[in-house]
C-alpha cells in the first residue's frame, strides 16, 4: 500500500497517532508517520489542508518535523530506506526545532501593492516606454526599501535568535513581508502581542499573525 508522509517524530513518540489511522515506520531514534494513499496522482486542495490538520494534530501531542506535502512511497520498506539514510540529521533537527512553534507573520500592503497607475496607459513612443520602465523601477525600489524597513522593525521587536527567524521582502504581489518566527509555546502570546502592537503602528500595511503551526519553515532534510 502506498504511503503519504506526514511527519517525523521521535521513536519514543511513534504510537501517538495510532488512533488517526497513521502508519508508523521507524529507523533508529526517529519514526515516520504516514497515511495510506490511494493509487492516484492528483490531490485536491482539501487533501492539502487535510495534510496540515493531520500534522497539527501530531504536533499537539509530540514534537515533530512536518513533511512537505507530496512525497508518496510505494510501501513501508521504501519509506524505511529513505528514513535510514536521513536518520542522523532528522534526529538532530527534531531535538533542535521539533518542540518549537512557527508563527507566520505577514504584512500586506493596504493598497494591494498596485503599480497600475504606471502601466495603465499604453506607451506612445520608445522614450515613453523607457520612462515608464524607469518609473516602475522607482516604485518597486521604494516598495522594496519600505518592506526592508518593516522587516527590520519586526526583527527588532521580536528579538529572536537569527537561526529561529526567516523572512522575505516583497515575496509576491501585495505582500511587503513574509516572516516565520520559531518560538517556544511559552513565548507564543508575548510574541504575537508584540507583532500586533507593532502592526498597529504601521499605517501602510495590514499585519497578520498566524499559528502556532508546526515548524514547517525550519524543518529541512538537507
Amino acid at each position: 500500500m502506498k504511503l503519504l508522509l506526514r511527519a517525523i517524530v521521535a521513536e519514543l513518540d511513534a504510537g501517538i497517532a495510532a488512533d488517526q489511522g497513521l502508519r508508523t515506520v521507524t529507523a533508529g531514534s526517529v519514526a515516520a508517520l504516514a497515511s495510506p494513499w490511494e493509487t492516484r496522482g492528483v490531490a485536491t486542495e482539501a487533501d492539502l489542508l487535510d495534510h496540515h490538520r493531520r500534522i497539527q494534530a501530531i504536533f499537539e501531542r509530540a514534537p515533530c518535523l512536518p513533511a512537505r506535502f507530496g512525497s508518496v512511497f510505494a510501501d513501508e520498506d521504501a519509506l524505511r530506506r529513505k528514513l535510514v539514510d536521513r536518520e542522523p540529521i532528522l534526529a538532530e533537527q527534531l531535538v533542535r526545532v521539533g518542540h518549537r512553534c512557527e508563527l507566520a507573520i505577514t504584512c500586506a500592503w493596504r493598497d494591494g501593492g498596485a503599480t497600475a497607475p504606471v502601466e495603465s496607459v499604453p506607451a506612445s513612443s520608445g522614450r515613453a516606454y523607457l520612462e515608464r520602465g524607469r518609473q516602475r523601477a522607482r516604485v518597486e525600489g521604494a516598495r522594496e526599501q519600505r518592506a526592508g524597513e518593516i522587516a527590520a522593525r519586526l526583527l527588532a521587536e521580536l528579538a529572536i535568535e537569527s537561526a529561529f527567524v526567516r523572512h522575505r521582502t516583497c515575496p509576491r504581489p501585495g505582500v511587503a513581508v513574509s516572516m516565520s518566527a520559531l518560538v517556544t509555546r511559552d513565548e507564543i502570546d508575548e510574541m504575537s502581542s508584540r507583532v500586533v502592537r507593532l502592526g498597529a503602528e504601521l499605517s501602510d500595511v495590514t499585519t497578520v499573525v498566524q499559528g502556532p503551526w508546526p515548524p514547517y519553515t525550519f524543518a529541512v532534510s538537507e
Binding site: K2, L4, L5, A7, I8, A32, W37, R40, G41, V42, A43, T44, E45, A46, D47, L48, L49, H51, H52, L65, P66, A67, R68, F69, G70, S71, V72, F73, A74, A78, L79, K82, L83, R86, L90, Q93, E102, A104, T106, A108, G112, G113, R172, P173, G174, V175, S178, S180, T206, V208, Q210, W213, Y216, T217, A219, V220, S221, E222
Partner: protein, 62 residues
C-alpha cells in the same frame, strides 16, 4: 494572470499553502503527487494563488 490576494483571508490561505507546498522535511518518495492536476515540481506561485479560490469555494476554514 491571477490577481494578487487582497483580503486578510487570502493572505492567510496563501501563507499556509506556501508552507505546505514549499517548506517542511523532504524525504523524496518514489512518486510525487500533484495538486489540482499540476505536478508539485512545477507548482509555482500562480497555482498557489489560484488554489485560494478553490479552497474558499470549498468552504474550508483554516
Amino acid at each position: 494572470m491571477t490577481p494578487p490576494p487582497t483580503t486578510t483571508l487570502d493572505v492567510r490561505l496563501v501563507e499556509l499553502v506556501d508552507r505546505l507546498l514549499n517548506r517542511g522535511v523532504v524525504l523524496t518518495g518514489e512518486a510525487t503527487i500533484s495538486v489540482a492536476g499540476v505536478d508539485l515540481v512545477y507548482l509555482g506561485l500562480s497555482v498557489v494563488l489560484s488554489s485560494v479560490d478553490n479552497i474558499r469555494r470549498a468552504g474550508v476554514d483554516v
